[in-house]
């Protein structure tokens, strides 16, 4: 019971809602047709990337434009280890997370010396450098073209991860872990301190909090989640390419979080789900599907700056974490 409480879980509406979402997603495994089965698996992994982004942007107010580097660190960490060192999925996940954390400690720690617009541009520049480094070592990474992760390495505990069932359940497992961590942070003292820093940094400093350390901690959790998502993505879907390190993949988590609602626990998932299917439908109509992304971004900042769940929380459900 005390473990449950420490994770922010208890007999209340918020816990019921989040556990309910997990139960529904697990149940969907048995009923979804093939196409949506793999789509939802993909969405759950990408939602973990978005949840990581939400810890930095939504809760701590760190508007990073370089989170693709953390996702790419996980993706390439796991992918390259499998390709050249014959490391299977479990080791790849560990390497991916460590790679992302290493990037946070080097680039993130430096970027945190700046605030506001400078922080956005510095993170953008660092991510661009990582993107170019991937090109520079094209001999191993194959640059734009990317490489296919060998099937033999896409396995964990004797299960082949390219099988639909294992793929869905691993994606679900990662999603559940990230969701519970997010919920625990949102309802803990740490979460409140991060929100305090987001709302008024000077006041939080005056209250005695070490702002830099708190932000770094938030960025470590955020980058770690993004790295884990990247590593699992490489293992479940078997492809590693430089596109995942491009600026587009720094913008997408921002978009997903904005759509779903920044600073809400379920917002990143709702946003990823909505945008994934919106792009899925429009890309059937036109090749210029990024137009939808652009219009969505403009429409959101103009009319729904709080996103779907942010608006719901404001109007009807103030208890939503």
């Amino acid at each position: 019971m005390s473990v449950m409480r420490r994770l922010g879980l208890g007999p209340d509406r918020a816990t019921a809602l989040h556990v309910g979402v997990l139960v529904v997603l697990l149940a969907l495994h048995f009923v979804l047709p093939d196409y949506h089965h793999i789509s939802i698996a993909r969405i759950m992994v990408l939602a973990c990337f978005a949840m990581g982004y939400n810890i930095a942007f939504g809760y701590s107010g760190l508007l990073s434009l370089g989170h693709a580097m953390f996702f790419a660190a996980g993706l390439y960490g796991a992918g390259l280890a499998a390709q050249f060192l014959d490391v299977p999925a479990t080791g790849g996940l560990l390497i991916g997370i460590l790679g992302a954390l290493a990037l946070v400690i080097t680039f993130g720690a430096v970027a945190l010396r700046t605030t506001g617009v400078s922080f956005m541009i510095v993170t953008l520049m660092f991510a661009q450098a990582v993107f170019l480094i991937i090109y520079y070592f094209g001999e191993f990474t194959r640059g734009d073209e990317g490489f296919i992760v060998p099937d033999a390495m896409r396995a964990a505990f004797g299960y082949a991860l390219n099988e639909p069932t294992a793929r869905y359940l691993v994606a679900f497992g990662l999603f559940a872990v990230c969701l519970i961590i997010s919920l625990a942070i949102a309802r803990s003292g740490l979460g409140r301190v991060l929100v305090a820093i987001r709302e008024n940094e000077d006041r939080a400093r005056m209250l005695g909090y070490d702002i830099y350390r708190m932000k770094l901690l938030a960025l470590l959790i955020s980058g770690g989640m993004a790295g884990a998502a990247g590593a699992v993505y490489a293992m479940l879907f078997g492809y590693v390419g430089a596109t995942f390190a491009s600026i587009e993949y720094s913008i997408l988590p921002l978009l997903w979080v904005l759509v779903g609602g920044a600073g809400t626990v379920l917002g990143p998932f709702v946003g990823t789900l909505a945008m994934f299917y919106l792009i899925d439908i429009t890309s059937g109509l036109t090749t210029a599907y990024l137009l939808v992304v652009g219009l969505a971004l403009i429409g959101l900042v103009l009319f729904f700056p709080k996103g779907i769940l942010g608006t719901i929380r404001e109007r009807w459900a103030s208890w939503l974490p």
């Binding site: 010396r113 541009i121 520049m125 660092f126 090109y135 520079y136 210029a288 137009l291 652009g294």
Partner: protein, 293 residues
């Protein structure tokens, strides 16, 4: 070719790049300086300028010089109108909040780029230079048009500088940049100044693009590099400092031209990107900026 002439050729190429970059970055710098916002769609205004230049030149098409002249007039005007529309409908409603503006201009980036992809298509298309004439140096022949690009860029920058320091509109812009509230108290229409500066910044990008199109083809993804380089120039030059912007464009453009002749362009870009990030971390006001940002 010997090393000396080779270096001269690399420097000339670098100077052409620097000239176009200076004009483009000047637009970004003005917008940042006066409005205090980062326009991520600046590179797309550049691209739009190039595509419209191709369209205007191929539409007029009597003589390359006439087509080029038409492009030189039409392209900045149309791009300026598009920017003005975007400013009035989106940015002014966001009250120029720095972070919301970045998200909105990222949106504009995708909208402009994809609309061009849908209408103009994915092909790269050239524009004929207005005159096809080579100046014969002792070691190699060099395109006279490229020298014209350098001259045109210098003339334009002198004009902008004179406009900023010698005219009433320039005074209003500088007053708004210096202190928005006091400017408003002195009955300067700050909203109109903002709208004008945003449109003018985009027009400068379009102008730079028209100059570059006879050398480099028009393509819907061509806005990426100018955006990144302009960012670097504006940051190194000091946010909102005109003199710093021009000086930094000269340094970055020349070294980009020379380095990519002699070294691996990817490695040069990696180093440049990291250096710029570090400059921003330790000197947020830029190398030539005076006030802390």
């Amino acid at each position: 070719m010997d090393f000396g002439p080779y270096l001269l050729l690399a420097s000339l190429e670098g100077a052409v790049g620097a000239a176009v970059l200076a004009v483009t970055a000047l637009g970004l710098s003005l917008v940042f300086g006066v409005m205090r916002i980062v326009n991520v769609a600046h590179g797309e205004f550049f691209m739009l300028g190039a595509v419209i230049a191709w369209w205007a030149a191929s539409l007029i098409g009597v003589h390359p010089a006439l087509g080029f002249l038409g492009a030189l007039v039409l392209s900045p005007l149309i791009v300026g109108a598009v920017a003005l529309f975007a400013e009035r409908t989106v940015l002014s409603r966001l009250k120029y909040d720095p972070e919301a503006t970045i998200v909105a201009t990222i949106g504009m980036l995708y909208v402009i780029q994809q609309v061009v992809l849908m209408t103009y298509g994915p092909d790269a298309r050239p524009v004929q230079p207005p005159f096809d004439f080579r100046i014969q140096l002792p070691w190699f022949g060099y395109s006279a048009y490229k020298l014209f690009v350098i001259a045109a860029a210098i003339a334009l920058m002198l004009a902008v500088w004179a406009g900023l320091t010698r005219t009433r509109v320039g005074l209003m812009m500088r007053a708004t940049q210096y202190d928005r509230e006091t400017a408003r108290a002195f009955a300067i229409p700050v909203d109109k100044v903002y709208a004008g500066v945003f449109a003018f910044g985009a027009m400068l990008a379009a102008f730079g693009a028209v100059l570059v199109v006879p050398v480099q083809q028009a393509h819907y993804l061509m806005g990426h590099d100018p955006l990144l380089l302009s960012f670097i120039v504006v940051i190194i030059g000091g946010l909102g400092s005109l003199r710093g912007t021009v000086l930094a464009a000269l340094i970055i453009g020349m070294s980009d031209g020379i380095i990519s002749v002699f070294f691996s362009p990817t490695l040069a870009k990696i180093i440049a990107t990291l250096v710029v990030a570090m400059v921003l971390v330790w000197r947020p006001q830029g190398l030539f900026g005076e006030r802390p940002a």
